[in-house]
Assembly symmetry: C2
Homo-oligomer: 391 residues x 2
């Protein structure tokens, strides 16, 4: 009864899993959630109160332009420019989270049967989104430096795709970052083959060591850059944005109209107020300090709790560590054992568009305190041991 | 460069028009906007303040389940049940405005080439949305009692469509309401031919005379009912909902995940709080009293300002009056004259999926005070006269 294009798309196993592990005794490394104890609740409360108390209050409750709140777009443009990507307010389309940005790009660019190239593994909900658009997804291998440019060149030559989807900085699920030289190479390839790149960058500001890399979008006009307040502000507001190449702007605005007319006026106004008043840079520094400690705790314990032969990524930022267990285990079969030990992770297979590597799993360190991470790592070690995983 | 399916979809002429007429001296009957001076600003301010001050504040800034806030869904379910449509919280999926409900239904039910039947004329953004899904749209004539059941039966027999889209109560753009006998007939036809009905009901509570009719959804299981807070609360929050038949539920939830993960957590929490504390029924009675006066003012003046031969709908509620001018005029050519007279309306042609009737136009009375309506009607009469329209 559902449409063909939906029949091939499963509900997100991550979201289904999150629903299962709401027992408070479970230490969950499964979600990709920011730490709620670090939310600037008072800052947000004050921002909503200000915009609903002032002269513009009625305007903030009314229908609004599809492109988004101009004051908010001005703040985001200035922030994006400071991060090395020159941007004007009119280049930005505010979206209902950057997830919506993906859907709009799919609607605006992909006809059924279009080819989308992704790094392997990649963000699950992006795979869902492209599948729903009826696209054919072609994976390209990645390593510790991100997607492999030589393999990408081959695929571009062979497949002539419409779109390349990348999370170049602190990727979901791997935590990996595309290196500087590769960024240049990927941008060149996109130009040469006339492929649009979607650069999905929700984590880029959460860097715990090393110097920031320039966005791929600063290297080519063929990049659609997606940003978000979810990881640096609060995800509950569902505020993201698309920095749109000029020739795609009107198509994306039409897609946005059809999707939800516009993003919440009041949330946009509150975010504009927040960005005027709060020191988001200081807030992000605080997030980075806390997440760095969590990352270090997790990475410090992994060698002690996992069996010989296990390997994992060493992320410079973001929220995720990507683990491969030894001995040809399927982590989907380790998960029930882990849940009996009151610890959770996400099995890696759903993040693959092509041939899955079932021995992989994703751990998130962002929403768990260092103490709970220590206890959770101990439980994970026990679970892996009791599931019989060995090199 | 944009996808084929988007290449056929224009930006909404209504939204484009709204951008043009922001000059304060223009009296606009063009938008379908609720009156901002009637927003319960203090009630909404207090609701946001409460949910961001309480123990749950951090939760209201975090990611949340795709289906929506359970407290909000409980309130909506109770309200829907009181209106004659028995509904449980778990039947509801909260959407980012009811516009998103349309997009999700299209994603979940329509493959490219699927057939969608609409009453003629109908809501413009629904046409956009079905076009973007690659559907073939087949219009069915309507009259003062709404869609014509005999014509509908013929089209169902001939076309075997997937979906029928209706705004059965105080329709956009006509203001017309589908009569009771026709509701039963339409529900029967949907059952017999296995067609899904989308009942889009944003205006149903804004009734100025006569008794409420039961929702079509109360007459058949084959109805996907869309509701919204936009017209009775505040549109800026972008809060709508889909009452989903059981067999479509999981498909719609998957489509919602891909669209934006979930609707703004904080807006949902504030709305749940508002519905707990405020007397929305009393607020709606206030809206109805104000809008009734505006409707009466407009309908009282139309015979005086329009030339002989003009006809218009006589809506029992909602926001719109649908006018047909005499003499074979194209209202798209009257609009520039009207704008020179500082008055605006929406030409009717874009609301037609089939052969347009260019002599039609849509007037909205909801967001203009009775005094301004009087002045605006005077200007409209002058504009129509100076454009040379005559019987």
């Amino acid at each position: 009864m559902p449409s063909q294009r939906l029949a091939n798309v499963a509900s997100s196993p991550v979201r289904d899993l999150l629903a299962l592990i709401e027992r408070p005794e479970v230490i969950s490394f499964a979600g990709g959630l920011p730490a709620p104890e670090l939310f600037d609740v008072e800052g947000w409360r004050a921002a909503f109160d200000t915009v609903l108390s002032g002269a513009g209050a009625r305007r903030h409750l009314q229908y609004a332009p599809t492109e988004g709140d101009l004051r908010l777009r001005g703040h985001i443009a200035a922030r994006t420019t400071r991060r090395g990507l020159p941007t004007r307010a009119e280049d930005l389309l505010v979206t209902t989270g950057s997830q919506q940005g993906l859907t709009l790009v799919a609607a605006a660019l992909l006809d059924p049967g279009a080819t989308v190239v992704v790094e392997e593994p990649t963000y699950l909900a992006a795979l869902q989104c492209f599948s729903m658009a009826g696209a054919r997804i072609v994976p390209v291998p990645s390593d510790e430096q991100g997607v492999d440019p030589a393999a990408l060149a081959e695929v571009f030559e062979r497949e002539r795709p419409e779109l390349l989807y990348l999370v170049p900085t602190f990727a979901n699920p791997t935590g990996r970052t595309l290196g500087r030289a590769r960024r240049e190479r990927v941008a060149e390839l996109a130009e040469r083959y006339g492929v649009w790149i979607v650069e999905d960058d929700p984590y880029g500001e959460l860097r715990y060591r090393g110097a920031a890399l320039e966005p791929v979008a600063s290297l080519s006009e063929r990049v659609i850059y997606l940003g978000s307040l979810s990881k640096i502000g609060a995800p509950g507001l569902r505020l993201g944005w698309v920095r749109t190449p000029r020739e795609l702007r009107s198509a994306l605005v039409v897609a946005k109209q059809a999707a939800d007319l516009h993003t919440s006026t009041i949330d946009q106004a509150a975010a504009a107020e927040y960005l005027s008043v709060a020191d988001l840079d200081a807030h992000v520094r605080g997030l980075c300090a806390a997440y760095r400690e969590r990352r270090d705790t997790m990475l410090g314990l992994l060698p002690r709790v996992l069996p010989d032969g296990a390997v994992w990524s060493d992320p410079d930022g973001g929220m995720f560590v990507w683990v491969t267990l030894p001995g040809g285990v399927d982590t989907a079969r380790v998960l029930p054992v882990a849940l009996r030990h009151d610890v959770a992770f996400v099995p890696g297979a759903p993040f693959f568009a092509g041939r899955a590597e079932p021995a992989t799993l994703r751990l998130s360190f962002s929403s768990t305190s260092p103490e709970r991470i220590s206890e959770g790592m101990r439980r994970l070690g026990e679970a892996v041991l009791s599931a019989g995983v060995a090199a």
